[in-house]
Structure formats: structure tokens, C-alpha cells
């Protein structure tokens, strides 16, 4: 039986219906047509469905939708403000940190959570933070450089 679910999505309050077995990814993608979180594995392994729940990076494909009642959910769509790209989006774009782009939403959301907590992470901390996000095209070097550029590093690979 569907139940009423209300939460804040990218700054806007939403009210929708969800089965007890629906995942947050189901509700976002199928119910609300928010398609940036991707369905890569549906088992919490690949990280491309990552969204922020109250600022924490969470795999939406293994999160029961009804557990986000009253919470704040942020997806990639919610990062740019007033038509301005978020610095991470800008650096990912300019540094070619996306190839096929399927892992990009999860990568950027994970990086957002990292930088919110730790604005100047070391390269090791960046690598550690995105360890749960798979990029099969192998753009990891550019991804780390883009995050490093936002974090105030030079965005160049050290020798």
C-alpha cells in the first residue's frame, strides 16, 4: 500500500507516494522524474545513484524511500544556483572529468559532501572519498584533479 512521503528535494518541499519497498532511487527516478541519480547496479556497489541526505552521501538505490521523510535530499540537479554552475560542475566540465558521464552524478555528489566537511582535502583523502564510486571509463585522474582544483590545489597530478 502506498504511503504519503514528504521531504525537501533540492530546496523545494515535495509530497509524493511510495510503497514500503520502494527505494529512494525508485521514487526520484520513476516517481519524480529526477534522473541524474543513475541505476548502475541497484545493489549499492557502483555509487552512481549517490545523493545527499541531510548533507551525507547516500546510495539511493539501497535506501528505503520512506526513511527520508522530513529530510533534505540533494541531487546533481540541485547543485547549480541561478544558472551558475557549482565549482565542482565547472571543474568537472573543464577538466574532462566525465567521459561517458554515467558515473558523474554520483562522483560530483560524493565530492560535494567531502568538500562541505573538509574544504581542503589531501589527494589521499579525495581518493579515499570517491573509493566507492566506480568509473569504468577510467577518468579517475581527471576526476581527482577536478576535485583538487576546487579544493584549492593546483589540480595537477603530482609526480
Amino acid at each position: 500500500m502506498k504511503q504519503i512521503l514528504s521531504f525537501v528535494l533540492n530546496g523545494q518541499p515535495v509530497v509524493t507516494l511510495a510503497e514500503a519497498t520502494d527505494t529512494l532511487l525508485d521514487v526520484l527516478r520513476e516517481g519524480l522524474s529526477v534522473t541524474s541519480p543513475k541505476r548502475g547496479c541497484d545493489t549499492g556497489d557502483c555509487g552512481t545513484c549517490t545523493v545527499l541526505i541531510d548533507g551525507e552521501p547516500i546510495r539511493s538505490c539501497v535506501t528505503i524511500a520512506l526513511t527520508v521523510e522530513g529530510k533534505e535530499v540533494t541531487t546533481l540537479e540541485g547543485l547549480s544556483k541561478d544558472g551558475e554552475l557549482h565549482p565542482l560542475q565547472k571543474e568537472f566540465h573543464e577538466r574532462y572529468a566525465s567521459q561517458c558521464g554515467f558515473c558523474t552524478p554520483g562522483m560530483i555528489m560524493t565530492a560535494t559532501a567531502l568538500l562541505n566537511k573538509n574544504p581542503h582535502p589531501t589527494r589521499e583523502e579525495i581518493i579515499d572519498a570517491i573509493a566507492g564510486n566506480l568509473c569504468r571509463c577510467g577518468a579517475y585522474i581527471e576526476i581527482v584533479e577536478a576535485i583538487e582544483a576546487v579544493a584549492g590545489g593546483d589540480g595537477k597530478e603530482s609526480a
Binding site: 534522473t35 541524474s36 548502475g40 541497484d42 540537479e77 547549480s80 554552475l85 561517458c100 558523474t104 569504468r136
Partner: protein, 382 residues
Amino acid sequence: MMTSIVGQSVPKTDGLGQVTGSALYIDDIKYPGMHYIKMLHSPVHRGLIRNLDVSAAENVPGVLGTITAKDVPGQDGYGFFMDQQVFASEFVCYRGERIAGVVAVDEDAALEGVSKIKVDIEEQEPVFDMFEAMKPESPLVRPNLETNLWDKFGDGTQTIYRLRAGDVEAGFAEADEIVETEIYEATHDHAQLEPHISIAFLDDAGRLAIHTDSQAFYLHLVLCLCPVLGLPTSKIRYIGGRIGGGFGGRNDVHTDHITGIAALKFKVPVKWRLTRREDLATTMKRGPYIFNVKDGVKKDGRIVARYVKCWHDCGAWAGMDPMPSARSPSLAWDPTACPIYGTMAGASLPTNRPPPPCAVLPRPMAARPLNWPWTVRPRPSA
């Protein structure tokens, strides 16, 4: 000046959509009245289908109907050799082969339908090793083969491709040393991040439109969709462009012909998206390669002659395989460094493994066998 663009980076044309989330992949697209497919895959590696009863599935609420071999509108054969069956109807020859699809209003109803399909398969002993499959006493990988050695080109051997440049024997005679090695390249799955997916629908011009994740449009159109669906190219609107990785894994048709058949039969938009488990367990792999490499080398280190024999386990169906099998040994040749070269060929040998797509060729492994020992390891005895 023309040179002003040399050395300058060009913005990635589709990059903005990817970083803002507005880029639409196939699973992000919905059509009104869209239905979903779930598939019954073969649970065994090799066997004969004694009976297939889909009637109980068709009575499940929400199920529109089923698709089986009987619903293939054109010819039931595709691929380079035009022989791969769309659905198994009499025999299965690899675990994961499609047997019947259920089309329903949502995936839950379709899955419920799949669980109601009754199939009776007489399981047979499978063959997994290509050298076992070459032995005369080996069971046939599938009953419609006369031999496990494919000889589609009629030259009396399983060889499908030969390449020669210069006199290889004379090259070896000229060499100071002969070095031989065997390289085993294991099975790979491409594991692109977006599982295989397709949407098919009839557009307002009466054409069958298919959103595809294909990496080989024209090949898939002429070697699969047109013959299987019984349509000319002008009646198929093949829509592609954005895929979540490929790496060769989308060089064979996995879902387009199935959604096409369903859309033609039920006249509704149909989506089939594979789960990750389904993608890994049932779609095509890059089968193992074995290269025998013989090099004639001079004392100063130059390779003056090379002879390569290549065997490729192409799984139960040729699929798009003859191309990579043929090309792989030719890529082991570097004409600038090794003037004399010969291959026995890229032999495609069938086993009861999932068939391969025209996947990433094992070029580095083949081209560098003697100088880069990190790729050289003995073939597992098992």
C-alpha cells in the same frame, strides 16, 4: 591563422549535460503507455527444450503477453553468420540464453509472469574448454553444428583468416635465436556502468523507432534488426548517441531486437533494461584467447620474423566474433619492427559459454609477448 587552434583544448561537446544531470540516457526516457520486458533465461549451459508453456504467464494481471521464438517476424538468425537464434526454442547452448520474454505494465508484473513460465529442459553435458571442444569425441556445442570446428569459409580447416608478409621460414633461418611462448588472455566482461537497455515504439510515421545503446549501428541494423524484424532499413528509426560506457560490450545486439519484436507485436512502447546481475550473467563476454607466438630474434635484439597462432573461445554463437578473432593476430604484428610475419589465423572455437561481442581486441597482450612479461602467464590447466 590555422595554427591558433593547435594545442588548444576544445570543450567537451556533451560535457555540460553530464555535469548538470540534464543528459538523458535511455533509462531516463519514458513514453506514455510504456511497457516493460522481463526475460526467462536458460538456467542450464546446454540442453534440449522438451516443452515450453507460457500460458500461465499471460494470465498474470498486468501482463500484456509473451514473446518467444514464434513471434520473430523475420528470420530467426542474426550475427556475422546469420545463425544466432533470437529465442531458444528447441535447444539452449549457453546459460543465460533467452527463452521467453514477458511484456507487462511494470517490471514487477513482468517478473511475476516470468516466474509462471513452465519450461522443461533436458540438461546435457556442456563443453567449456575450446581444446576439448576440438576433440572428435567432444559433444557438439549445439545440435545444429556438424562439428565444433567452424569452417564457414570452406578452406578445409577451422582457420578463418591468414596473413602473411614475407617468407617466414627464411626469416627464422636468418635469426640467431628462436623464442616461443604461449599467452593466455582470460575472459573479460566489459562491465560498462549502464546496463544494456533499449526502448522500442512505433512512431507517428509508422516506423519502428528504437532507442539503442549500440556501438555498431550499421552492423546491427543490417546483420540483426532488418533480418530479424523483417523490415527494410527505411522502416527502422535507429536512435542512439548517449551510452553509459561500452568498451566493446555494446558491439553485439543484446536488447534492441527483443524490444523491437515486442513493440511490433503489441503496438506499445516497450523498454527492456537489464539488471546488473542479468547483464553480468547473460550477456556476451570477450572469451579467452590463446596466442602461440614464435619469434626469430637477432643477437642485437631485433625481431626479424614472427609467427602467431591464435585461438579464441567464441562461446556458443559466432555473433560478431569473426572480426576480432581475425584481427587479433594481425594486430600482433608491428611492420616497422618486424618485417616478416605470418599467422595461422584467428580461429573461433565454440564452447557452451556466452557468445562474445566484437569486443576489445587483446592487442597489447598479443603485440608485446616477449618483451613485456607481465602479460605472459601459463594457461591454467583446469
